[in-house]
Amino acid sequence: MITCEHTKNLLDAYLNDELAGSMAAEVDAHLLDCPHCRHQLSLLEACGNVVRLDINEPKISEDFTDRLVAILEENASPTNAWPQLRRGIAVATGLLGIAAAVALVVGFYPRRPTQPAIEIMPSKYTPAQPTSLVETVTEDFLGWPIGDVLDAGERISSVIELGRLGLIQTSDPIDLYPAEFNSSRPPDTVPAQTKPELDVLETLPDLEEDSEVL
């Protein structure tokens, strides 16, 4: 036989249906004989019954379900799939932009050339060995025609320079292709089309006495 103190401690479990069969029977037996504990149980049961059975809350709005379903349908509509599509496009665009930026940076990044970007073609022209003008003039003076040593442009420059230096008389006609010179080169090796312009020689000023001689 359990006491009132035991029963008081067991009432919650009793109300929760958590007592084993034998213990629940003990509580029932005590309640039959104990008005105080019966009163305590009645108070607890009354509170529980009121909460359970007294439906006293206001009613929810009648159009609650309609409004909710409308929202659900709107969220599920194809037009609302656009946000997802836009999101997908934005992500793809972002990735493309990043890829383009990377390509741009890589393309413009000044890489160290391991080999020339443009192949340098070997020159077909072998520049003549540099000779001093004096040597050139000396050779010519020794009989080599100027026209046999220099090309047309260089011949003209040389003649002008020679005139400036006073090494040749500018007033004297100069036959750049004298055939009577004693030259090992045959006179007919000089192409006629390379005959220089001679007019410019007549415009050169006379050298002054104190001009420097190279």
């Binding site: 919650d12 009793y14 109300l15 929760n16 249906d17 305590q40 108070l43 607890l44 009354a46 509170c47 529980g48 009121v50 909460v51 359970r52 059975l53 007294d54 439906i55 006293n56 809350e57 206001p58 009613k59 929810i60 709005s61 609650f64 379900t65 409004r67 909710l68 379903v69 929202i71 659900l72 349908e73 969220n75 599920a76």
Partner: protein, 211 residues
């Protein structure tokens, strides 16, 4: 005390029906969604209203709870009742709402005075004592803290066991039982005090006692 066998059968039937509707909603069946809402909306609203004591807040929370529940059906575990999941969401929304700083409190307090509508589930004319007892009990429930109130409502009104309540409220089972124990003690104490007060009033005013 509860009748375990009958309730178990009813619960099993309800659960199967719920799972069928949830599957249909997952497939995009809006009619099934409507049916689920109709099944749970008033009970959910009553629970939320008891916590919030404000009509507009309660409806907003209920709407948000349904929307969140439907939007995350992929993660819904069919082991649990749909209502369990729904009440879990709603309870957390209530707590979040209560934690938000509120502006004008006047309307809130005014709504607190509104006990509910006049439509009662009982067809029997209510005696004065019964009415007074209900009034006392609900006033006592209102004075419980949020956790004790939620446990009381979920246990008695929604017929959840302590384990399910623990899942809804994200609490250990022992804590749920502790809350239930304290809630019952407070409700009982209020009724006892009211009973003592009645005795005192009758002692001082025999005419009232006689009338």
């Amino acid at each position: 005390m509860r009748n375990g066998t009958k309730e178990s059968r009813e619960l099993a039937s309800v659960r199967l029906d719920e799972q069928r509707l949830v599957k249909m909603v997952k497939r995009g069946d809006h009619a099934a969604g409507r049916e689920l809402v109709e099944k749970h909306k008033q009970r959910l609203f009553a629970f939320v209203w008891r916590l919030m004591r404000n009509n507009q807040d309660a409806e907003d929370i209920c709407q948000e709870a349904f929307l969140k529940a439907f939007s995350s059906l992929a993660s819904y575990n069919p082991m649990y009742r749909f209502s369990t999941w729904l009440f879990t969401i709603a309870y957390r929304l209530c707590l979040n709402n209560k934690r938000r700083p509120r502006g004008f409190q006047g309307e809130f307090e005014l709504d607190n005075l509104v006990e509910g509508n006049d439509s009662s589930a009982s067809d029997i004319a209510e005696s004065e004592d019964a009415g007074r007892m209900k009034d006392l009990v609900w006033r006592a429930v209102d004075r419980l803290n949020d956790s004790q109130k939620a446990v009381t409502l979920l246990f008695y009104r929604e017929n959840y066991g302590c384990q399910e309540i623990a899942e809804i409220m994200n609490l250990p089972v022992a804590t749920v039982k502790s809350h239930l124990f304290r809630a019952r003690a407070k409700l009982k104490e209020m009724l006892e005090q009211a009973g003592d007060a009645d005795c005192w009033i009758r002692f001082r005013n025999p005419d009232v006692a006689a009338g």
